[in-house]
Amino acid sequence: MSAAAKLDDRLEIDLGIFNPMAPEFIRDPGETWRRLVLEYPVAFHRDMGMWVVSSHELCLKMMMDLRFSPNFRHWEYAPPEKTEAEKDDYDITMDHSLFTVSPQQHLRLRKLTMPAFARHVMSKINERIRGLIVDCFEAIGAPDEFDAYATIAANLPARAIARMVGVPPEDEIIFIKFSNSVVKATRINLSPEERAEAQHDSLEGYAYLRRAIAERRARPFPSDDFLAALVTAGEADDRLGDWDILAVVMALIAAGADTAVDLHTYVLQGLLSHPEQYRLLQERPALQENAIIEALRQGSPGKLPIFRFATDDIEFGGQTIRKGQAILVNLAAAWRDPQKWQDPDKLDITRNLEGHIVFGAGPHFCIGTYLVRAQGGIMLEEFIRRFPHAELARGDGDLAYDYEHHNARRIVRLNVRTNVGAAIRHAA
């Protein structure tokens, strides 16, 4: 802690108030979040060495304020900048990352890549991943019970992105390893050694993708996969370079691979633990997208959601945040802010979600938002079609968490009772 920071008359919290790794918090975070939102909407966490911003209003304000950068290199404890000769593929891609480049360059990248991400092109992507999801459910079959985490959540997201990018099934294992390692390589809550190991683990994936991009560039006619779309994306003479493309793939992974694991478990847990809501969705399928967003909001899977770094000394929410300090933008708490949401702990798939920040807000709004919504939507359609009478086994689905997960309240067991046999007997 710097002497300057000690001089600040700042609001402070500690692990006694907010311990994101504590099992009791992971199992039941509601009271902690409520206290943070109402009593400590922005406070310095002296044990974690960073600010924590928790109210809806302040999380939104921070995400809209360009002085709070997502660029890890603004962090006071960031490792020193490497020389060009020292940089590996990971470092060079980071130089081109959507989190690293200037706001002008960020807009350029978002603009050039928009055709591959926009809602109106998602139907093509839907078809690309629908087969994968159907295969996943075919493999589940019609047992009395199955674990939705192992069969669906752990199985689909990284493979869906691999399928979208154009990685063939036989190479998925490389892509999944790459996907896990690039997410971990910038997490400031991990040790420098863990980050370095993750960076090293990512290099095989970079080499693979660079070959795949070169192969797309060499084709006489463009194909319809995502890498090919990025190779041909552009306006006039403005085209994406290889490093830009790798940076976009990296952003897609950060936005839609590991986080989507929680999308599947929390959406199913939310709906099946509220049977009346599950029935309502079957009666009114048009509520599907709202149901997915509401289940994410109410389930709120985040533990250490996203970070920002102050690029200057900034007065914010009545506190002084010093240049270089890290801030946890505690979206998980904000999604349950009682000042924004009536009955915030209640799951209501008909809720008016206008103004929600489930996918963030502002310039770094989740780039994979429509991808994960599409993935969640197809998963739900298949689940409802096959298991309309499903319920959580033994009340809570034998719910289990990975208490060590680096950023999520990761559910790693969710047993579902299908009641398929009962439905058939009932019909007979």
């Binding site: 926009a118 809602r119 963030g360 938002t369």
Partner: protein, 59 residues
Amino acid sequence: MSDAATQKWICIICGFVYDEAAGLPQHGIPPGTRFETFPEDWTCPECGSAKSSFEVMTE
């Protein structure tokens, strides 16, 4: 159902499309309202990005 005189605008951050012909009645913006007439502090209803994040959409 847009007529030739109206345009669609797309938010290049999130892909939200504002169709001038349809307006945004749920946000109090009637059909036919020109994007250029929005106040400069208007933000994308989907992602909250600034008005400057929008561009004319070509289909």
